[in-house]
Amino acid sequence: MNMDGTNSFGSSVKEPSANGTSLLDGVLRVMYDSIAEVNLQLPEHQRIEKSLTTILLGDGGRLDSLGLVNFIVITEQKLEEFLGVRIDLTENDPFSPNTGHFRTVQSLATYICELAENRVGRPLS
């Protein structure tokens, strides 16, 4: 992180808004937008819910491998627009279905917040 608030790629990291919206809220909004986009590819009965407990990967999950990768790519793109930094959700081999970060919406959102704060070098919320 540079002294002027930009990251090493020159883009500004966006601070949370003054009205108290947390980083987690923003990340969840991004993830729910991504879910909405992925759902357009799915028949109605297979669409996934915008909920913290929605299972993304593993037993009970409705996304196949292609659907999950599409979700990852869309989410990464939206996170870059939201945070101003690029985050790689697939580093550190996160695909373990029971303990990995992609298990549920909540687990992934928490992981993203950690990654974002590590990238910026300070808490963002």
Partner: protein
């Protein structure tokens, strides 16, 4: 509708969008084995049957010379273009197995900057790609049912995210889901265009839609239109875009809450007005409910509500029409007037698979029709009016000149359509290979103007009976006895061929009741159980009074009727010559 996907990368996401879209087409999707593009095209007869095929390839895979050039090897450009030709040949070989094939133009990711400022010189990659796409477009120009879709539009719209290396390495999907979603939308529009289901009429508001301000308050001199004003320019461009639609054959109409004289004066007199009163086929400028006005406009223009698009800056008016007339398309409209032209230009509901002379002259036809209507008011009876029109019907056999218009009529006409048979160009060609089948096209003109090629009739002759397979007439000329002339000509031909009966089996649809009404009053006998009309050819079917008929020329110089014997089915098919 069944769509078969053929690609050298994973197209499953496109298939998912097509299969799960909210379009009324209800598409089911199957895919060729991954990376088997050429075998899938050359062995299309072994593929699962499908109505349409989508072919999406990478330029470096289909054109090996291009792959070499991407590594800055010097290539033989003639060889490059020959490889494009070979690919086009494979597409043509597959053509007859599908109603249409949609081929995507070739694109490159934005990050391939090639050799920088030399990329559009010499053998720069971008220059070669332009040549390849142009060559492919030229190769497919005359391949009637193969359409090249512009993939560059989709990648431009998505921007730098259109190519995702992560998607490629993890799933062998070349494009971001956003690109594939836009592609699916355009494929839906393309299929609708091939099926003849495109919009024919745009109904626009006036105040703050065609110009800035309320003409009734400001006067036409003070409207925001043109001039050195960014919004004035935006309205000009919007009007130009509407005029462009008119040139494509889409009718324009007005539904506005205004004093008619005030609004028409503005259209006629404002020096920067692009659209003038004569550009509009009809208008309802009054203080009445717009939904009711739209119903009247559609009826006046003899179009179904499903053919209409309504554009209004006022969201309340848009909501009203959406609720009252769900068949009318009411696109979401931006508040920002600088976006009006671009919003109109990106609408895909006008996409048509055909561009005929009849389309381009549609507005002129309605102007002629206004004259006919005005003239009608000056004569005493409908009979007198019909006799005085001096209608002339010219009969043609299917040819390269009229083929596209014939296919268009067969696939787009709903009201005066006996069987609503929909066929591709190839299917019609194959059907006409049999000697006991004939098809004629009918051109109509009268003293007010030329309505163009507006009718199609085909028959199949077997065991003494001629069965009308296609009986189609454009709504432009319904009720002017062209229908009777078509039937009379067919009866004359079949009688001369030695057949005994002429049959017409009516297949009801939601829209072709006008056809039933015609046949019920045609004088044919009616078998209600079979829904079949019949005429004994021992009795001539009368040609309608007041309609001249010009029979097809067949190249002979004799003015008399000749008979030519054919082997198939023992049917003797007469050869008519121009008797005028």
């Amino acid at each position: 509708m069944k769509v078969y996907l053929i690609a050298d990368f994973n197209l499953d996401t496109l298939g998912n969008y097509l299969a799960n879209s909210e379009s009324s087409l209800q598409i089911s999707v199957s895919s060729a084995p991954f990376g088997q593009v050429i075998p899938a095209l050359l062995q299309a007869h072994e593929a699962p049957p499908a109505d349409f095929a989508v072919v999406w390839t990478s330029p470096e895979t289909m054109v090996p010379s291009f792959a070499e050039s991407l590594n800055y090897a010097t290539i033989d450009e003639d060889r490059l273009l020959a490889e494009v030709h070979e690919f086009a040949e494979c597409l043509r070989k597959a053509q007859k197995h599908y109603r249409a094939i949609f081929v995507m133009s070739w694109t490159l990711p934005y990050y391939r900057r090639g050799n920088g400022i030399l990329n559009l010189k010499g053998q720069g990659a971008r220059k070669l790609l332009l040549k390849m796409n142009l060559k492919l477009a030229e190769e497919l120009e005359d391949s009637g049912s193969i359409y090249l879709l512009d993939a560059q539009r989709w990648t431009d719209a998505v921007g730098k995210n259109s190519y995702s290396p992560k998607l490629w390495y993890m799933t062998k999907t070349r494009f971001h889901a956003d690109v594939l979603r836009r592609a699916a939308s355009d494929i839906n529009a393309a299929i609708s265009g091939v099926l003849g289901d495109c919009k024919k009429l745009v109904i626009v508001d006036l105040d703050n839609t065609l110009w800035g301000g309320v003409v009734g308050d400001l006067g036409w001199q003070n409207l925001k239109l043109g001039g050195h004003d960014y919004l004035g320019e935006a309205f000009i461009d919007f009007q130009k875009a509407l005029k462009g639609l008119r040139n494509r054959g889409v009718l324009l109409a007005i539904a506005s809450k205004n004093e008619e004289s005030v609004a028409l004066e503005a259209l006629a007199k404002h020096p920067e007005m692009v659209l003038r009163p004569e550009d509009f086929a009809a208008w309802r400028i009054n203080w009445n409910d717009k939904a009711a006005n739209i119903v009247e406009l559609a009826a006046q223009l003899n179009l179904g509500l499903q053919s209409a698009v309504f554009i209004d800056d006022n969201p309340v008016e848009r909501a009203r029409v959406r609720e009252a007339l769900p068949e009318v398309q009411v696109p979401d409209w931006p508040d920002d007037k600088t976006l009006f032209a671009s919003r109109l230009l990106e609408l895909d509901c006008f996409d048509s698979a055909y561009a005929t002379v009849e389309d381009a002259s549609r507005s002129q036809f309605y102007a002629d029709e206004k004259q006919r209507g005005s003239y009608r008011k000056t004569v005493n009876s409908a009979e007198e009016w019909l006799l005085s029109l001096q209608t002339e019907v010219s009969v043609e056999e299917l040819s390269d000149v009229n083929r596209i218009r014939v296919i268009q009529l067969l696939n787009k006409t709903n009201q005066m359509n006996l069987t609503t048979r929909r066929v591709s160009e190839q299917e019609l060609e194959d059907w006409l290979q049999q000697h006991n089948r004939k098809l004629w096209a009918f051109r109509v003109k009268d003293k007010f103007g030329d309505s163009g090629l507006t009718g199609v009739l085909s028959v199949e002759m077997q065991s003494g009976i001629a069965r009308i397979v296609d009986f189609v007439l454009s709504c432009r000329v319904i009720g002017r006895r062209v229908e009777d002339a078509m039937v009379a000509f067919a009866a004359e031909y079949c009688a001369a061929a030695g057949l005994e009966e002429l049959h017409a089996n009516y297949l009801p649809t939601a829209k072709n009741k006008p056809c039933l009404s015609f046949w019920m009053s045609s004088g044919f006998s009616y078998d209600e159980e079979e829904n079949r009309f019949g005429w004994l050819l021992s009795k001539p079917y009368p040609f309608p009074k007041g309609v001249g008929i010009r029979r097809p020329q067949t190249g002979g110089t004799s003015q008399s009727q000749q008979r030519v014997s054919r082997e198939s089915e023992g049917v003797v098919l007469p050869v008519f010559t121009n008797s005028d």
